[in-house]
Structure formats: structure tokens, C-alpha cells
């Protein structure tokens, strides 16, 4: 399954993890201690975040740290912009079509 940024942010735990590592890289264990769920569950979320390109896990000596790669989140804003353009264009087209339909109706009305 392809991983993308939308999938990454769909889960509240993952968003919380992102919030924690947004400004500083943190030891993996330190991150998982902040949650009530099991460490394994947090690792799984980190793995998904890593696969989505939003987090990188780095070995430093005996410790493992996770670092945020938040520039990836720009993809979400890019998408928002594209979605807007897409619908503005559809609405233009709808507007034209409605005008066309209604002018036809009027013409038919006048014929009688």
C-alpha cells in the first residue's frame, strides 16, 4: 500500500507524535512514555510516519531518536490549493451550463 501524507495525519496519535517532534528530535522511548498505549503501538505509528516521509529514525550511539520531516506537510496545503482550483473550474462550468439551460427555457416560453 502506498503511504502518503494524508494517511499520516489521519490518526490523532500520529498527529500528537508529530507535534512533539516538530521542534526537536526526541528519543523514541521518551516519545512513547507520553502515551497510555503500548510502546509497540507507538512504534507502529512511528513506522507509518516514517513510511509517509514525515519522520526519520536515527541511531545515535545506543539510543534511537526520531526527527520530524515536516516540510512534507506542504503537500497537504498544495492539495488544498489544487482542490480549490478544481472546484472553482467546475463551478464556472456549472454556471455556464445553468445559464444555457435557463436561456433555452426562456426562449421556449416566448415562442407561444
Amino acid at each position: 500500500m502506498r503511504r502518503d501524507v494524508f494517511q499520516a495525519i489521519a490518526d490523532p496519535t500520529r498527529r500528537e507524535i508529530l507535534g512533539m517532534i516538530a521542534h526537536k528530535s526526541l528519543n523514541i522511548n521518551a516519545v512513547s512514555e507520553n502515551f497510555d498505549v503500548s510502546r509497540a503501538a507507538i512504534y507502529k505509528h512511528m513506522k507509518i510516519l516514517a513510511e509517509c516521509g514525515l519522520l526519520e529514525i536515527k541511531q545515535q550511539g545506543r539510543e534511537r531518536f526520531c526527527e520530524g520531516r515536516l516540510e512534507k506537510l506542504n503537500e497537504v496545503s498544495d492539495w488544498v490549493e489544487q482542490y480549490r482550483q478544481f472546484w472553482e473550474a467546475r463551478f464556472d462550468s456549472l454556471d455556464n451550463y445553468l445559464k444555457e439551460l435557463q436561456s433555452k427555457k426562456k426562449k421556449h416560453g416566448k415562442k407561444k
Partner: protein, 165 residues
Amino acid sequence: MAKRNDLEITRVFDAPRKLVFKVWSEAKHLAQWWGPKGSEIEVKTLEFRPGGIFHYTMSFGGGKMWGKFVYREIVEPEKIVFASSFADEEGNSIRTSFIDPWPLEILNTVTFTESAGKTTLTIKGAPINATEEEYNKFEEMTASMQQGFGGTLDQLAEYLLKIKE
């Protein structure tokens, strides 16, 4: 209202709501306006009911693409909720390579309101994830104001900016 990242798009149409709703719900009308400029739409299936699908092709400049809606909720003439995606000929949702990034499926909520013979159309969009489980989580996320999220994506965008600061 016209914030750049606002994912709620509104437009007023000079037509009664009944007509505007109708052109969203019938194949012969959809074929006329749905689809990017310069493209031709051919409707393969239109089942305008909750759970039903709209499956169509867009042809333009020699290219051909399939698209799909799955209707989730229909309240005539007020509201249509549907998941939209690119599709293959069999109607499976697929990703497209030429717009990236783009979610596999998007949940769209369109509302129609009428005032003085004019119709205000509002569309809200949200990405849907690959599985139903994740879809539910997205719902959960939009319901949870504590997390800094609201029902619309502009709040999501704001949140994203906030954590990036």
C-alpha cells in the same frame, strides 16, 4: 472567508435550487457540465442513491481517464455527500500519476440553499484514507476540537502551519 487554505468553496448561482440539484443528479446534465474544460464526459453508470455510484470517462486531446463518485448521503434538494476518486474501467479507485499529491479518495459534502431565486452552493472537502478504519479516524479527528481540528480542512491547514512554526 476567502482564506487561501480554506477548504470550503461557495458560489451563488442564478438559478432555482431545484434546477441546480437536478443537474447534479441526472446523467444527461452531468455529462454537460461535469469535467474539465475541453474534455468530453461519457457516463457509464449513474445510480443516484446512497451507496450508488457515478462512473464516467473524461476524454480530452486523445487521452482518456475514468472517475468515480460513491454517494453516501442524498437529501433532495439540499445535500449530496459523496466520495470521489480517479478510477479504472472496472470502477476501482486508483491514484493518478499526473496530479501529485492527491488523496486516493476525497469526501465531498455539497449543500444547496436557496434565497430569492438564487442558489448558494457550498462544497467541503476532506481526504479519505485507504481503509474504513482510517476514514473513521478522520471523522474522529474532525470531531475533536481539542486537537485543534474542526470540521473543515482550513483548520487542518492552520494546524499544520502551527506545528511547523
